[in-house]
Subunit: 237 residues, 2 copies
């Protein structure tokens, strides 16, 4: 038998493969806290429960897993977040009552304002603060996935400025530092934080300033390479 013959005889419908979904833990920073996007399940199983945005691969729409993630996030937020990263893949026989099931889980970050209007227009989608989530029961193993995403993001806050993608396009250093502090769960030395940013040259100074109380703060924008930059030394926690 040749490969060609094999393939023309091959029919995927002859085999049962596990259910396959993608899910995303999408973070934003708003009102001085981190928030995560939750979606109320419209269908069984676990209808009515809150869970992470995600769903099945659609072979007709999606050329790749990333496409599925983009499609699902666009449905819920109206946009594709500027930072998306694969977190982990969980697959076992228990996590979904429909049977052996696999989810490819992503972490993503977005500015709150970038999707504020769209989210308010869509029913059964909301931002939940991380305090709020602690007390919730999420669908399937989504709470576990959330915890893993949060822990990964905490690690990243020690050696990168990835958390900055949860801020608006233009932000102050105090805001950036605060996102990191929320993730780490502890205050960071202001001087240390600024020194690192200076040296790494990861921000564009917009020249603009913003004032609320006290001295006006410089406004910055993330450089494109900020997503990939890693400091060689961690903050210590």
């Amino acid at each position: 038998m040749t490969e060609k013959e094999f393939l023309s005889n091959y029919d995927r419908r002859d085999y049962l493969t596990p259910l396959l979904t993608v899910d995303t833990v999408l973070f934003t920073y708003h009102e001085n806290t981190l928030k995560v996007l939750l979606v109320e399940r419209a269908n069984y199983p676990q209808k009515g429960q809150w869970g992470l945005p995600g769903g099945f691969v659609d072979e007709n729409c999606d050329a790749s897993l990333d496409d599925t993630v983009y499609r699902k996030l666009k449905e819920k937020t109206g946009v594709v977040p500027p930072y998306i990263e694969q977190l982990c893949t969980v697959g076992n026989s228990d996590r979904d009552p429909r049977g052996w099931s696999v989810t490819v889980c992503y972490t993503a970050l977005i500015a709150h304002q970038a999707c504020e209007a769209h989210i308010e227009s869509v029913h059964s989608v909301k931002w939940a603060s991380i305090e709020e989530i602690e007390g919730m029961t999420l669908a399937f193993d989504h709470y576990q996935l959330y915890l893993q995403a949060r822990e990964r993001l905490r690690q990243k806050s020690l050696y990168s400025i990835v958390p900055g993608f949860a801020l608006p396009e233009v932000f102050t250093l105090a805001e950036l530092q605060h996102v990191h502090e929320v993730l780490i769960g502890k205050a960071i030395q202001n001087k240390s934080f600024r020194r690192r940013l200076d040296q790494a040259d990861l921000l564009i100074d917009t020249g603009e300033k913003r004032q609320e109380r006290g001295r006006p703060a410089n406004l910055y924008r993330l450089k494109s390479q900020s997503a990939d930059y890693r400091f060689i030394r961690n903050l210590e926690f």
Copy 2:
């Protein structure tokens, strides 16, 4: 309709889901080089080509994806490696001629001696040195997966001693350092390397020594926490 009714009406065979496999990039250190385990494909597609060890989830044997990985590695090597880590998941419509396909890829490390006998007894399984692999064409996108695993392991060699799991249970510091140097592609300052190990307290001194030429070298064993330890400062490369 209740959830119970929904589930009793639900039949996974009504839906077509992507093909799902696991693959592992298994490294070892032998004869002063890093080697990767390759398997000759016994079946179509790409029959006869070398690729990574892996295969389909078997819902009857495997309670989780990790179980699938253990089962597949045990088939090829006779043992379960002491270090296994999820690398990434790749899914798209192109990578497998049978259709939309997803692979969950793992990186693993093992001592060469731990599976030497079993591998020699099994046909169509071999260790390929990293120099050898550079010139090869592997099945599907396995070469890409190999490159990603190698890059991740290179990063880890800068802030952990994970690469030590590619060594025999008992090893010298020179051997450990050399694995790191091969991964980094550059010599490491001997003093820096030893200082880090001293301070982190990651090794057990066996008290034994091994001599080949020159001064006998102390023999060490990895402590169990070595897999998870991260230095707060990277080696610089």
